[in-house]
Structures are given as structure tokens and as C-alpha cells.
């Protein structure tokens, strides 16, 4: 992922992070905004991570798998 925005420090479970997604939690759109979340884990492939959003998705879930490039340390 070329646009990695992670800080130089490796994210640890429980870190407060900001996730750049649209209001509907999509990657593409004009309404991209930061979402506050807690970092959970990094996928084995390394380029995706799991986060737990502070606010619930319309579908009722808070845990999302997102590209690591969209996650920054708060």
C-alpha cells in the first residue's frame, strides 16, 4: 500500500486510531471522514487490519476489516 499513513510506531492491540472511511464505511466517496476506533489486530498478509469503531455501523457491527493504509494512530 503506497499511501500508508501509519505512524512509524507499529500499531498495538488497544491503540486508539483514526480510520478514513465514508459515512457508510466505504473506501470510495466524497464524504470521506475520520472515524475513531480501537486497533484490534493486523491480518497475516499485513496490508489489512481489524479495528473496532466507537460508533456502530448501520448494519449493527462495530468491528471492521480495513486496509492498513486507512488507519492512523490518534
Amino acid at each position: 500500500m503506497g499511501m500508508a499513513k501509519e505512524s512509524s510506531r507499529e500499531l498495538q492491540p488497544g491503540d486508539r486510531v483514526s480510520v478514513l472511511l465514508t459515512e457508510k464505511h466505504e473506501l470510495q466517496g466524497e464524504d470521506l471522514m475520520p472515524h475513531s476506533a480501537k486497533f484490534l489486530r493486523r491480518h497475516a498478509t499485513g496490508d489489512w487490519v481489524d479495528v473496532e469503531l466507537d460508533r456502530e455501523h448501520a448494519g449493527g457491527t462495530t468491528v471492521l476489516s480495513v486496509p492498513a493504509a486507512r488507519v492512523t494512530l490518534e
Binding site: L21, K24, H25, E26, L27, H43, A44, T45, D47, W48, D50, H57, A58, G59, G60, T61, V63, L64, S65, V66, P67
Partner: protein
């Protein structure tokens, strides 16, 4: 001299005295009968939005036929999926026509790829009945959509209803 040797051979060869066994028909739940027709349905769909469900493969059992699903596959193509983590969940519906859907036993909450589309898993069989709408469906639980695809395959055969064993379990 030669005919005597032949007689002796016939008497001592146990295989020549074995009575002929006739098998009128093989069980339709294990073998496709001559009147059967096989099916191989496969498909790919875009990963649905989070909390949404999509139909990957759909098979309508013809009138006058029952059937057996013998091969299954479900795959995730793209980034963001981890085997067993539950980011997406597949289900095999024995009948999507009934209210609430009839889910195939033990295929209710599939969290791993059970076979690829080009190399599906062979199973002992999911029995299906005439007019049932069999579907492989997927629900996106938590993976942000980024151009991923979901693939699947259902294979097996149909056979005439009258060939079904009486204790068929339906």
C-alpha cells in the same frame, strides 16, 4: 489329454463356480442413475456491503426430480479476508423459496473456503427435492468493500422422484 486337463481346471477354479450376482440398480443417493442429469453451477458476485447478503449460486430443482449436491466450493477473491475469522459467512440454502429459508444442516455458518471453484470439495451429499431453490449465499459481516469478489460452485445430479428410496428421509 488336453480336455481332461481343462475339466480339472474348471473343477478346481473356485471363481468359475461362483453364482452370478445381479445388481438391479445402485442407490441413487450414491450413484447417478441412467435417468439422471448432472448439474454444475458456478458464479462470482461482488462482495456485498457490510451487513448485506448476496446470492452467489442458484439452482432450481426441476419438477419431477430430486437430487443430490455432491460438490461444493466457496471462495473469497481479493484482500481483507482471513480464513475462519468470520469476516464473511456463507450458507447453503436447501430451499430459498420457503419463509425463513431452509438451511442445509451443517452448512449454516461457513467461515472458511471449503473448496475452490476449479477444485471443489467432494461431499457425501446434500439431498434436495423437486421445486426447491438451492442457493449458496454470502453475508459480509465486517470487511470493507474494495473490489473483492465472492465465488462459489454447487455440483451434483438430479434423478426422477420415483427412484427415491422409500426411507429417503425427506
Amino acid at each position: 489329454m488336453r480336455s481332461e486337463r481343462l475339466k480339472l481346471t474348471m473343477k478346481t477354479n473356485p471363481f468359475l463356480d461362483v453364482p452370478k450376482i445381479e445388481i438391479p440398480k445402485l442407490p441413487v443417493t450414491n450413484f447417478m442413475p441412467a435417468q439422471g442429469e448432472d448439474f454444475e453451477a458456478h458464479g462470482y458476485v461482488a462482495l456485498p456491503a457490510i451487513a448485506a447478503t448476496a446470492v452467489v449460486v442458484s439452482v432450481l430443482v426441476p419438477e419431477g426430480r430430486n437430487g443430490i449436491i455432491k460438490r461444493i466450493a466457496n471462495v473469497f477473491v481479493g484482500a481483507g479476508f482471513q480464513e475462519g475469522q468470520g469476516g464473511v459467512i456463507w450458507q447453503i440454502l436447501q430451499d430459498a423459496n420457503v419463509a425463513g429459508n431452509l438451511v442445509a444442516p451443517f452448512f449454516d455458518n461457513i467461515v472458511a473456503s471449503l473448496g475452490s471453484v476449479s477444485n471443489p470439495s467432494t461431499i457425501d451429499g446434500i439431498r434436495i427435492r423437486e421445486a426447491q431453490l438451492v442457493q449458496l449465499i454470502v453475508k459480509n459481516v465486517s470487511i470493507v468493500v474494495s473490489g473483492q469478489l465472492i465465488g462459489g460452485r454447487l455440483g451434483g445430479y438430479f434423478y426422477p422422484v420415483e427412484l427415491d428410496p422409500e426411507a429417503g428421509g425427506f
